[in-house]
Structure formats: structure tokens, C-alpha cells
Amino acid sequence: MSRLSSTDAPAAPAVDELRQGVLARMQASLGDALAGSHLIPGDDLWMRVRADAWVAAGEFVRDQLGCDYFCFLSAIDWMPSPYGKGEDDPTEPPPERSTETVPGYAGGDTRMQVFARVYSTKQRFGLTLKADVADDAPHIASWTPVYAGANWHEREAWEMFGITFDGHPNLTHIYLPGDFEGHPLRKDFPLLARMVKPWPGIVDVEPMPGGEETGEAE
């Protein structure tokens, strides 16, 4: 986790005043609630906030940082899939796989994270906000009062990851049938097509005859 957090960010010499200023203002406003950050100068900014400050962070970036444009909201399940890529031989017992959760940029303590991206159309920058959600009965406050566009994205995240968005006006299925059971984008939800028939595309990623695995393309 510390490997990817801000404490030892990649050694980029460039100084990004805009994004560093954004980060400093966020820090001043949220204090402890800003749990982690990751900045790639001249490129992008990630900030992780505590779940209880999710709406406050959204309002802050909208009103104070001028991020008026809502891009998307979704979730990440950081647990590696116990089924791998669904390329196991069905006649053999499945191989041992680590299901240890390894978080990404800006760190994380839980298996699932909600993340959202917003832009400032005036200052022309974007940033990604993340928040940890509890492992059992994951829930977080809804962003629909902050950005109206979050409505559908939260419905999608709810059915795909099983994360409840408190205060959402209409948390119903958007893609899946109403009686669908399970949360398909969770890593422990198997891709059934791969379970019933071995994937023929596996041959594409095997080493080419005569070629070395790290060989350069000609």
C-alpha cells in the first residue's frame, strides 16, 4: 500500500502548481478526512477521502475548486478474482490463487472503493476522487444532490457491485433484469461463459513459435 501512496511518489522533476494547489486546498478543507493522494505532475491527480466525507468532498470540488463537469462515478473491487482469467482447465482442480487485496493509487483499506471523476471546464483539469466502503454491507452517501448525473452511475454501481448509495432517489436496476441475483462486476462473481467452455482465445497470448516472450516486434 505504501508503495503506491503519496509518500514516495514517482520521482518526476516537474512541479505541477495547479494540481498541487488543488491538493493543498483540499487538505486544508477536509483535514483528516483526506486519507491519501497521488499526483503525477502535469498529468493527473487522485485523492482518497474518508467515506463519511464523500459528499462534503464532492461539494468542495464542485463549489470551491470549480469542478462543474461530472464525468463518471463507479466502483472498484480490489480483490483479485479467485477464478483468474477463466482460462483454467475444467478437468483439473483449480490452481491456488492469492485473493489478497492490493489497493491502487492513493491507497485504500477496504476491498471495494467508490471512485468518481470530475473536471473543471474553466481551469481545464480533472481529478479522481476515491472513497473506501466497508466490506460488509457496503454503503456510502449518494452524490445525486451534488451532481445530478450521478443518479444513473450510482444505480449501475449498486447493481454491479452491491454498494448501497444512501439517499439515492431511485436505486433500482438499470441494466440487469429486476430479478437478477448477484453483483456481476464483483471479482468473486464468475464469468459463466468461461466456466462452461474453455476460452479458445487463449492461444492468442501464448508465445509465438520460435519467438521469445519478451522479443521485440520486427
Binding site: Y69, C71, I76, G86, T121, G149, K187, F189, E216
Partner: protein, 390 residues
């Protein structure tokens, strides 16, 4: 939403009455009307559930998912080069444009940059997809309003563009041509001159559309002031592309972010319109096609020589990290949030497609409109079903 017009307030009151199934004012019964999933006025299988009070829509909700293919899940079991085959089919009218942001995200994580010639050709093909996509809209909008002729012109002239795309990539709809590090192939012989001739045709197509529709009194009456989306609403719903620019927001990712593409090598203009109505959305898209033809002409004139592929390993393994890349696609902002764990395939890909946000505003904007305007508004928001359902 703070913007509440009188008509909207009326619609709100009517919605309350319609809940009781009886309109107190006119003593008519409320009615629920399904538009779609199979309906001539819907593209693909979008279903809109509307509650009507007479001719007025008091409540509307799009119902999606009839074509959900689970691409986000499928990317997790594929290798990086295999993913482009899937994402070709998101917005199937501008397929090449779908591939570009994903490939750019993978390249960003790998620290690879395509050679200059590949960047130029990518940009040219990207703009060709935009013309192929948006020119269909320019004709199709007429059909939705009862003008049959424009769509035939659109299909006729779009064919020239598709031929040019096919000549390079081998595919009319699903080119699958972009590779990590560059492109599959170089341009064929004589292609540049043919494309320039095609661009002349597309410019005269735009003039034709302008004569046929933009100056047409019926078209103006049906679109002006219909389906107005104010600036703050458009931003808050995350509308993008021409829908956002038609609401007066000067925001175009081709110009407003740094990407290893060639848009900054050409002179062109980002058009906006202050009105935010159906007419504005049509007009902005019309200008966009014209600008695209200009971009293509200029880039083909200054096309640099050189390789079209950077040095990349034969087996592509993308280093651990997260990257977000989005581009200004024909329908709006299309982006991929790619998380890699150092494997041959992505750990998670969040696909941000333009139509999903663009159509989520429908339940807001359709409230208080009349049934024939529903079709106009949906047509002017311009969605591709595969881009909503993914």
C-alpha cells in the same frame, strides 16, 4: 435543479394529479405510454416509459439494458490487444474513435508513445469516424421530424467516408486497426488524394443539409426552443460533446487536454451555441463535420514520413498502475479508466461512454414537453444504443 420554468411547474402539478390517475383540471385520465424498445423512432432498443396528461409528458424515464453486453466484465478476462475488438462495438458508427482512448491509456501506462506518423493517421481516422457517425445524424434528424430526403443524402455521402475507412483498415464498421504503439498498417497508395476528394464531397453534403434543414421553416419551428438544456444542468448531468457545446459550454477535449494526437497540429475551431435547444445541437454538429473535414485536409497535407509502429514487446504486459484517458468522440466524451496489475490483461476497465450520460438527462428534459417533441429531443441528443448499454 434550480431552473424551473412555468411549464415545468405545471408538469410537476400534473404529475401529482396523474399519480391519482385523474387530472383535476381537464378531468382526463393519465396514461402511460411506452416508446420502444421496438419503435421506429428509437435507435436500437431504447425504451422510454412516459406518463402522459393529454399530449404532455409529465414523467419520463428511459429504460436501458436491452443490449447490455457486460464489456467491463469481459475486459477482465482478455489481454490488452484483445480488448479493442470488444470496444469497437460500443459506438458502432464511429468505431475507430472508440479504440483510441483505450490504446492511449495502455500506452500511457507502458510509457510508450506512437511515432508521429501514426499519431497523424490516428487523428485522421478518428475524424473520419466522426464524419461517418455525425453525418448520419445530420440526415436522421430530418427523418425524425418527417423529412425523408436528408437521410438518403446522408447514407449516400457517408458511404464515401466508409469506403475510405475500409480502404485503410479493411473494415467498414469495426476497423480494429489501432495497436499499442502505433497502427496495424500504413495508408494505401493514392488514399490521400481520394480522401481529400471525399472531404470536398462531405463539405458540399454539409451545405446541402444546411439548405435542406437548417433553413427550413418547419425544421426551425420544430426545433427552436424545444428541449432546452441550460448550461448548469448540462454540466451537472455530465453531458458531453456537441450536446454540451450546444448549451454554451466551450469545452472540447481535442483542444483542452494534452494527448499524443495531432489535433494541435491543425487550425480548427470549437463551435458553441448559446441556446441549448434541439436546433443548437443540430447546428453545432453540422459545424463539427465541417471542422473535421478541415482537420483531415490539413493533417494529410502535413503528414510526416516515418515508422507507424513504436518498439513494443510481442507479448504486451502493461506495468502496474492506473490511467484515465478520454477523447472527444463523435458522441461526446469517451474514456477508459484502466487499472493494470502488471499482467497481460487489465485488472479493471471502467468504460465511460458518452451516450450514457447524454441520455440520463432525458427524464429531466422530457418533463413538460409534448409527445412529438419527445422524438425530436431524443434524436437531437443523439445516442447510439451500444454506447448506452456497453
Amino acid at each position: 435543479m434550480t431552473t424551473v420554468s412555468d411549464r415545468r411547474q405545471l408538469a410537476y402539478i400534473a404529475a401529482q394529479a396523474s399519480d391519482a390517475r385523474i387530472n383535476v383540471e381537464l378531468e382526463t385520465e393519465g396514461m402511460t405510454l411506452n416508446i420502444g424498445p421496438q419503435h421506429p423512432a428509437t435507435h436500437g432498443t431504447l425504451r422510454i416509459i412516459t406518463r402522459l396528461d393529454g399530449e404532455m409528458v409529465v414523467w419520463a424515464e428511459p429504460s436501458c439494458g436491452y443490449m447490455h453486453r457486460g464489456y467491463e466484465k469481459l475486459t477482465e478476462v482478455r489481454s490488452f490487444p484483445q480488448v479493442t475488438t470488444l470496444i469497437n462495438r460500443i459506438d458502432w458508427l464511429g468505431s475507430f474513435a472508440n479504440e483510441v482512448p483505450f490504446i492511449l491509456a495502455a500506452e500511457k501506462l507502458m510509457g510508450v508513445e506512437a511515432p508521429a506518423r501514426a499519431q497523424y493517421i490516428r487523428t485522421v481516422l478518428f475524424e473520419l469516424s466522426r464524419i461517418a457517425n455525425v453525418s448520419l445524424f445530420l440526415g436522421d434528424m430530418g427523418v425524425q421530424l418527417g423529412a425523408i430526403t436528408p437521410v438518403f443524402y446522408a447514407f449516400r455521402d457517408r458511404e464515401h467516408v466508409l469506403n475510405q475507412i475500409e480502404a485503410v483498415t479493411g473494415g467498414r464498421f469495426h476497423p480494429n486497426f489501432d495497436r499499442i504503439g502505433g497502427l496495424k498498417d500504413d495508408l494505401p497508395k493514392g488514399w490521400i488524394d481520394e480522401t481529400k476528394a471525399t472531404m470536398d464531397k462531405m463539405r458540399s453534403f454539409c451545405d446541402e443539409m444546411e439548405d435542406l434543414l437548417v433553413g427550413n421553416e418547419i425544421f426551425i419551428k420544430r426545433t427552436r426552443g424545444v428541449g432546452v438544456i441550460p448550461r448548469d444542468v448540462a454540466l451537472s448531468f455530465g453531458l458531453s460533446g456537441a450536446n454540451l457545446r450546444a448549451s454554451g459550454v466551450d469545452w472540447d477535449l481535442r483542444r483542452d487536454q494534452k494527448l499524443p494526437m495531432a489535433w494541435d497540429k491543425a487550425e480548427w475551431k470549437v463551435w458553441t451555441h448559446p441556446d441549448g435547444d434541439c436546433f443548437a445541437r443540430y447546428w453545432v454538429r453540422l459545424q463539427e463535420v465541417r471542422e473535421s473535414t478541415r482537420i483531415i485536409d490539413q493533417l494529410l497535407d502535413s503528414l510526416p514520413a516515418g515508422p507507424i509502429m513504436a518498439k513494443v514487446p510481442r507479448i504486451i504486459k502493461v506495468p502496474e498502475g492506473e490511467a484515465w484517458v478520454s477523447t472527444e468522440n463523435p458522441l461526446g466524451e469517451m474514456g477508459y479508466y484502466v487499472i493494470s496489475k502488471g499482467d497481460t490483461g487489465p485488472f479493471r476497465v471502467k468504460i465511460r461512454s458518452a451516450s450514457f450520460n447524454n441520455i440520463s438527462v432525458a427524464s429531466w428534459v422530457l418533463k413538460g414537453t409534448f409527445v412529438p417533441d419527445v422524438i425530436t429531443i431524443l434524436a437531437s441528443l443523439y445516442f447510439i444504443l451500444g454506447d448506452i448499454d456497453r
